[in-house]
Amino acid sequence: MDALLLPLIVACPLLAAGLLFMSAGRMPPLPTCVIGAGSVGLSALMAAMLATGFLRTPPPAGALHATLWSWMQVEGFNTRIAFTLDPLSLVMMLVVTGVGFLIQLYAYGYMHDDPGIARFFGCMTLFVAAMLVLVFSSDLLSLYIGWEGVGICSYLLIGFWHTDTANVAAARKAFIVTRIGDAALLCGLLLLATRAGTLDIPALLHIAATRPADLSAETAAFLLLGGAVAKSAQVPLQTWLPDAMAGPTPVSALIHAATMVTAGVYLIARLHPLFASVPAAMTAVTIIGLVTLLLAAGSALVQTDIKRILAYSTMSQIGYMFLALGAGAWQAAIFHLVTHAFFKALLFMAAGAIILRVHHRQDIYQMGGLARAMPGVFVAFLAGAAALAGLPLLTAGFYSKEMILQGAWHAAPLLWAGALLGAFATAIYIFRCLFIVFFGTRHTEPHGRTGATMAMPLACLAVLALTGGWMEMPDAIAPVHLLSHLLSPLFGAPMPEGPTWLLWAGSLVPLAGVGVAWLLWRPRIQTRAPPEDALARLARAGWDFDTLYDVLIIHPFVTLGRLNQTDICDRLSNATAATARAGGRMLGRMQSGQVRRYAGWIAAGTVVALCLGARP
């Protein structure tokens, strides 16, 4: 029965998406939303049932399997469309469906007067379905379906308001950059398939566990890492995420904060034995995570667009997860993934609520003093910010970040220091944003009020963002280890905890950060102008990766293509034709019309023939 629920959870949003696309925009908003959100809610419900069943009576092998059909079966390779529910995918499933459902609700409030709402909900539900495929698949190739599926949905949704060319460009950029990673991932799959003859994840992991890591294993690990990096917007393929904010805010909340961007983390966690067997890859993951964490936090410090701030913060938070993965603290990574899904979605939706009410302005310097105007939103945003900053004890972010710091400490104190620095910066930039937006003098008069459909999800997520962390606590506070126990069959026992002063450091640094933010941007001395020195501009531009790629790759490629627009190979054939015509003209000249010339040709021919005869 449970194994049968598994495909149903996917099918539900899929069918809804099909229905919505079929309707071709002829359906009024309300039923559209009911179908969209309803289907996701339904699968959330089923997911909850499934989860409770799973937790109450864990299946014999610790996982549920549902093989749908055999996809390709040719000599030397076969692959199936097969789903598996194990603790990891269980967690992901709950996040995707739960947060997804809330965001769908919110989206109705946000989009209900948009003409293309059917397309919007169609893509959203399709995205949920693809994400679930990604999560459930027990075969890397069917996982790849979901992997690319979410990519295309993100393309469609970023470019949702397609009349603006900028949005279209942003969407294309997002898809293409991730596609580069996907190509790497595909190569990894090819390599693994050639090596193992199958892409069935358990089989692969078995091989990785038994066979010593050879060159091909290392290459495969790095190729997969490439895919993960692009999907999760890590250095050096992170450039697409800030632009992706061009999409409607619910999209940013669902795809570019809660779920899709964390797919890379999920992939690495899913294949952790493979990575664990390749130390070099682990180091690479760690370094990528740390670098992204710091760079993104740095950019977030100087952004002026509220959504871009959140985007950069997303990058840096995923950097945390990569750091944890690289450090081998798998549970920590997943834990942070979950909590991050809560509070980042919350932040985005709160930001969306603000944007909606200040006439779609996004520049924080044009807001300000909104705390009184929209207290509910303020509270929600505050909760989210606190969780993101990881204020001690009462926020989810604190516990997950704490766990990561512990892991980093075990891997290398230096990493720990870096992570701590990141935490400090995080606290600064998010509270900078909060102070500037909600305190001080008001610059834009908000209109209307945040509807219930938007308020309700905000409330739920706010609660989650605060309490969500209690599922896993350090022993020093309370010996609660629900998550790591749940995941231990996969990841083994969690690491032992470090000395207690780590905990102190981890809880004081964010507070310090908040303090600094208050000193700098408290209402009294709020400066109206963002910092304009070179470093700030560089950081605001995301450290100019875009320009770099433009100059190095895109521009030369496109220019050369333009130059060769009329295919150079074409010249060859034209040249041949020209020579033929020239020959024809020459023979025409031979046809001078003068009989003596003709006689001359005959004589010449005869003489040549005679010479031929005389030669031997």
Binding site: G588, Q591, S592, Q594, V595, R596, A603
Partner: protein
């Protein structure tokens, strides 16, 4: 009888032939071209005679007669056509000018 051997006769024929050919190539006057062709034909005829003499066979002379008749026929038709050209208003007998058929 052995004043001239067939080989010498052949040589003479060859010389005549070459002269005729050069005439055809060099002359621009249609009449003279025709005459050069006659020379060539006669050279061929002479060659046949010589060959016949070499093999002591009469076939050579037969060929000679044939060629003679051909030469006559050609001359006749050629002159007729030249006359018609003149009638058609071609000013000169210059073969190089006034050609409409070319290219």
């Amino acid at each position: 009888m052995n004043a001239t051997s067939p080989t010498q006769a052949l040589l003479l024929a060859t010389i005549l032939f070459t002269i005729g050919m050069l005439g055809v190539l060099a002359r621009r006057n249609l009449l003279l071209m025709l005459m050069s062709i006659e020379i060539m034909l006669n050279a061929a005829a002479l060659a046949f005679i010589a060959a016949g003499a070499r093999w002591h066979a009469a076939q050579g002379q037969v060929m000679f007669l044939m060629i003679l008749s051909l030469a006559a026929a050609e001359a006749a038709v050629g002159l007729a056509i030249i006359l018609r050209l003149h009638a058609a208003g071609r000013p000169t007998l210059d073969a190089d000018t006034g050609n409409r058929l070319k290219g």
